[in-house]
């Protein structure tokens, strides 16, 4: 059976995401291993490219996002390969990707801007970093912006779901 172009894209995206997820997991394990090794060696963290424990936690936190997103995306693409896109389950998965991006942006702000001064005594100027959260929306690299975009597009999928139901009723 000849595959349509969107099916081909989904097929190749699925394969790419699977390979990427594998290497991302390997990289995460390697990073955890090197950081644990650095912590056990009692060497100053700076020698290992980290200035303090909060930044260590920060780098691990940043590594977790692609792993979570890639696993959600792999799950979504796996479902897309088997069934139609306009299904409540698929729409829920797309919305989850949007919510993870939004949650990440907010959690990053809370965990790495508001909390650290209580432990380290370093002043982080939450208001300035609050504006950096807003900047995440303004410059399009921000997870906040992308999360909102995905949620908006997931709203369009609901229209597709209605179309599909109408089509089934017609038949």
């Amino acid at each position: 059976m000849k595959q349509t172009s969107h099916r081909r894209i989904i097929y190749w995206a699925y394969r790419l995401v699977s390979v990427w997820l594998f290497f991302q997991l390997l990289y995460l394990v390697w990073r955890v291993f090197t950081l644990v090794h650095a912590a056990n060696s009692r060497a100053p963290f700076f020698e290992h490219g980290q200035s303090n424990r909060w930044e260590t936690a920060n780098s691990l936190f940043h590594l977790l996002l692609p792993v979570v997103i890639l696993s959600l995306l792999q799950d979504l693409l796996g479902s897309l390969r088997k069934q139609t896109a306009f299904d409540p389950g698929i729409i829920r998965k797309v919305r989850w990707i949007g919510f993870v991006y939004l949650g990440y942006a907010l959690l990053e702000y809370v965990v790495f801007t508001i909390v650290p001064p209580w432990f380290t005594g370093q002043q982080r100027y939450p208001l300035v970093y609050g504006s950096s959260l807003l900047m995440g929306l303004l410059n399009l690299s921000g997870e906040l912006f992308f999360g909102l975009l995905i949620l908006a597009l997931a709203g369009v999928f609901r229209y597709g779901l209605r179309l599909r139901r109408e089509s089934e009723l017609t038949i």
């Binding site: 099916r7 940043h62 996002l65 897309l80 303004l138 229209y159 017609t170």
Partner: protein, 171 residues
């Protein structure tokens, strides 16, 4: 268009327009600052002895340009949603262009990053190259992921277009 609501779409259009204006203003201010620092020969923050070069200006220019292009395309997509053209071949093309812009931006950023790191290492000589690459590549992989997700959404839109055409033929 009833499921999304005209009010939602109108707000999305306003937000996109607002972001375009802010992006333009911030971009001009940002690039102007870069050009001034380049002309006066300021040192780059945190890297001893390294001064602003044309590559930093190009990097920031690519951020602003890609941001404005993505916003313009999204604005046009939302306007067509408002006009009840959802699963439309033009929208699919626009979405794929958004994906291409994210991917292209990631590619340009990697190239500029390698050039900047090479320049920095030539001056400072002591910069841990692998660390810089690792930290620099992390956000770039985020853009590749953005591009991929937008492409998958475009593929789903194509399926929606087929469904819509089938329904129109049935009617």
């Amino acid at each position: 268009m009833l499921l999304l609501g005209h009010r939602f779409i109108r707000w999305a259009c306003f937000l996109a327009l607002f972001l375009i204006v802010v992006q333009l203003l911030l971009g001009i201010e940002w690039l102007w600052g870069d050009i001034q620092r380049y002309r006066t020969g300021d040192a780059l923050d945190a890297i001893r002895g390294y001064r602003y070069s044309i590559w930093e200006i190009l990097r920031d220019f690519s951020v602003v340009l890609s941001g404005i292009l993505v916003l313009l395309l999204l604005l046009r997509i939302f306007i067509s949603f408002k006009n009840d053209r959802i699963f439309d071949a033009v929208n699919i093309r626009r979405l794929r262009s958004v994906g291409w812009i994210y991917l292209g931006y990631a590619a340009v950023r990697i190239i500029l990053l390698v050039i900047i790191i090479t320049c920095v290492v030539r001056v400072s000589g002591t910069l841990p190259l692998l660390h810089r690459l690792a930290y620099g590549l992390a956000p770039v992989s985020g853009y590749v992921l953005y591009g991929l997700i937008v492409w998958v959404v475009a593929a789903v839109f194509r399926e929606g277009l087929q469904l819509q055409e089938d329904q129109e033929l049935t009617v």
